[in-house]
């Protein structure tokens, strides 16, 4: 032995898991959805995604280096996830300048203002997305029509998302009729499942998102509590509305597969940093997101409620953490 002995407090054994591994795990889980969206929206989707990811990483680096004067930590991969998810909830035909602005807000306001990874109370990607949505409602609600793989970067034809069509027409005709109106051309379930609908970049292909969910569950990146409680709540709530009045409400399955609900429930509500820590807390949080989502979708001004619902429940996360504790060992003694 020629070196000095190392001394450190116990434990001396560490698991192989690490922050970058978890983050890149999410990136892998998002890959199918990215491929699907490139298939439907063409290279423009890839362009928006790359711009978003690259600018998020660059902003993180610049802010850490020159404003916070800290050691830049872009290697941990969290900025990549933020960039990806931000891009995933933007329309593919959004001007790139706005994509960059969104990244700046997501990283600068949503994350770095609070001290960087791990400190932000709100989901950074959603902060960026909602900022853009509230600032540029026109551009943010103009969707390209999915038309199979193509190489054009700017898609002039714009269509609507299924939910916005529903929102527009609830008062005019029964849901049945909306669904079958040729002019409105609502996508059917199989189109929803494979992703052939108008909408944000990453929200369209249900199968790809579910694939990612399975991957993340198996790799133990996330637990089932948040996604399942959100989806279940939405299903139950919309189910009740639907049974009560099928004329005026879409069925639960339609709600589950549209409007970025899957994207939000699987990838964005599960963001570690801004979601509750305990399992019980996660379920409360998930139920809250589910209820608010349906409220906004059905009764609010916006056709789309997931993004706001997640941000609103993000705000309640500290309270949930404060009042909902894991059950302590030996707390209430129940001896058999």
């Amino acid at each position: 032995m020629n070196k000095l002995l190392t001394v450190s407090p116990s434990p001396h054994e560490y698991s192989k898991e690490s922050t970058p591994k978890l983050m890149y795990g999410v990136v892998i889980a998002l890959a199918p959805a990215l491929l699907a969206t490139i298939w439907f929206f063409g290279w423009a989707a890839l362009l928006v995604t790359s711009v978003s990811v690259i600018s998020c990483v660059i902003f993180e680096y610049l802010i850490q280096k020159f404003i916070l004067k800290k050691e830049p930590s872009i290697k941990d991969g969290s900025a990549i996830v933020t960039g990806l998810l931000l891009a995933f909830c933007l329309p593919t035909n959004l001007p790139l300048g706005l994509v960059i602005l969104g990244s700046l807000v997501a990283i600068g306001v949503g994350k770095m203002t609070f001290g960087g990874l791990g400190n932000n109370p709100f989901n950074p990607a959603l902060v960026g997305r909602v900022f853009l949505f509230l600032s540029f409602p026109v551009q943010m609600t103009t969707w390209p029509v999915p038309k199979g793989f193509n190489t054009s970067f700017s898609d002039a034809i714009t269509g609507a998302t299924p939910l916005s069509v529903l929102n527009e027409n609830y008062e005019k005709m029964p849901v049945d009729q909306i669904m079958n109106d040729p002019e409105l051309s609502m996508p059917g379930y199989s189109k929803l499942f494979w992703g052939e609908m108008g909408g944000s970049l990453g929200e369209i292909a249900a199968f790809a998102l579910i694939l990612g969910l399975a991957y993340m569950l198996i790799r133990k990146i996330i637990t089932w509590h948040i996604p399942v409680s959100i989806l279940l709540t939405v299903a139950v709530f919309t189910g009740i509305l639907w049974l009560a009045n099928p004329e005026a409400n879409a069925d639960p399955l339609y709600h589950l597969m549209t409007g970025g609900l899957l994207l939000g429930a699987i990838y964005m509500a599960t963001d570690y940093v801004s979601s509750p820590m305990s399992k019980k807390g996660m379920i409360i949080y998930g139920v809250g997101i589910g209820i608010i989502t349906v409220l906004i979708r059905r009764f609010g001004a916006y056709p789309e409620g997931v993004q706001f619902a997640i941000l609103i429940m993000n705000a309640f996360t500290p309270l949930i953490n404060n009042y909902i504790k894991p059950s302590r060992f030996g707390e209430e003694v129940k001896n058999g």
């Binding site: 070196k3 000095l4 002995l5 190392t6 001394v7 450190s8 407090p9």
Partner: protein, 287 residues
């Protein structure tokens, strides 16, 4: 005068009078005893009840300040300095004048003086390392070099010297708040009387081991030989647990003890170079 003006006057005055009367009588009836100084302090406050101080209202602020013994963290932003001075007067509270002190680090275990015998790889916190073991050298008393004292300093008066691995105190910034003294798990830092031109003479060691082990762990450790105690004419030096201590209230900066120390554990700082020392050195060079 038009009727509107008349009605205005009547209604408002009535309202005012009624309010005043009710308040007065209710206040009389529901009186609760309280420290009268609270009233006085409250009076001195702006009464805007704005919450700027962090309290729910001026009265709460007054209560807090009367109860507390110091002004730490208590300030009224609306009233500003004038108001705070007045409160100090009411409460007859003055910061007691103390003679200026300054912190010194009583360890000189630089890498060249103190051999590194292990490598620490835990949380960068002196208390944690201290509870674990002796630290990276064999001296169980000396500085661990993880800078908990520096973190504790709110006045930018300390930094870690990356070469020596020891904390350094910037005398001009040090306000002798004692935060570092409290923070150090090894009780290395001491507040000493501040002297002219920032001069200092102190034993830069806290090792209480016997001479042998102490010396083995660190070349400049105090071995408790007692030579300095003997040469000191002012009873400023005492030795206990194999360690010398110079009382800064008694020391007159004669510097006699410094050259007699066989290990060089006593440091003199900010003095002009001494002649004898030079001579000695020359002699050494000759020898």
């Amino acid at each position: 005068m038009s009727s509107v003006v008349l009605i205005t006057i009547i209604s408002l005055s009535l309202l005012g009078i009624i309010a005043a009367l009710i308040l007065y009588f209710v206040a009389q009836k529901f009186k609760v005893y309280e420290d009268p100084r609270i009233d006085q302090v409250e009076e001195a406050l702006p009464g805007a009840n704005c919450g700027g101080c962090g309290f729910a209202g001026c009265r709460n602020f007054a209560e807090a300040i009367v109860k507390s013994d110091t002004f730490d963290g208590l300030n009224c932003p609306v009233g500003g300095g004038e108001t705070m001075a007045k409160i100090a007067e009411i409460l007859d509270r003055k910061v007691p004048e103390v003679e200026p002190r300054v912190a010194v680090v009583r360890c000189n275990g630089t890498p060249e003086h103190r051999k590194k015998t292990s490598e620490y790889n835990g949380a960068l916190n002196c208390t944690i390392a201290n509870s674990l073991y002796t630290g990276e050298s064999d001296c169980p008393y000396g500085c661990l070099g993880l800078g908990e004292c520096v973190d504790a300093c709110d006045f930018n008066a300390m930094y870690m010297d990356s070469e020596t691995g020891l904390p350094v105190i910037i005398d001009d910034n040090c306000v002798a708040c004692g935060a570092c003294v409290k923070a150090c798990p090894r009780n290395i830092i001491e507040l000493r009387k501040k002297a002219r031109k920032d001069r200092k003479i102190y034993v830069s060691c806290v090792n209480e081991d016997k001479g042998g082990p102490a010396r083995k762990a660190c070349k400049v450790a105090c071995i408790g030989c007692g030579k300095c105690e003997k040469v000191c004419n002012y009873d400023a030096i005492t030795i206990s647990n194999n360690l010398a201590f110079i009382d800064s209230d008694k020391c007159v900066f004669c510097r006699k003890c410094v050259p007699v120390c066989p290990t060089g554990a006593i440091l003199e700082l900010n003095f002009p170079p001494r002649k004898t020392a030079k001579k000695e050195q020359e002699e050494k060079v000759k020898a």
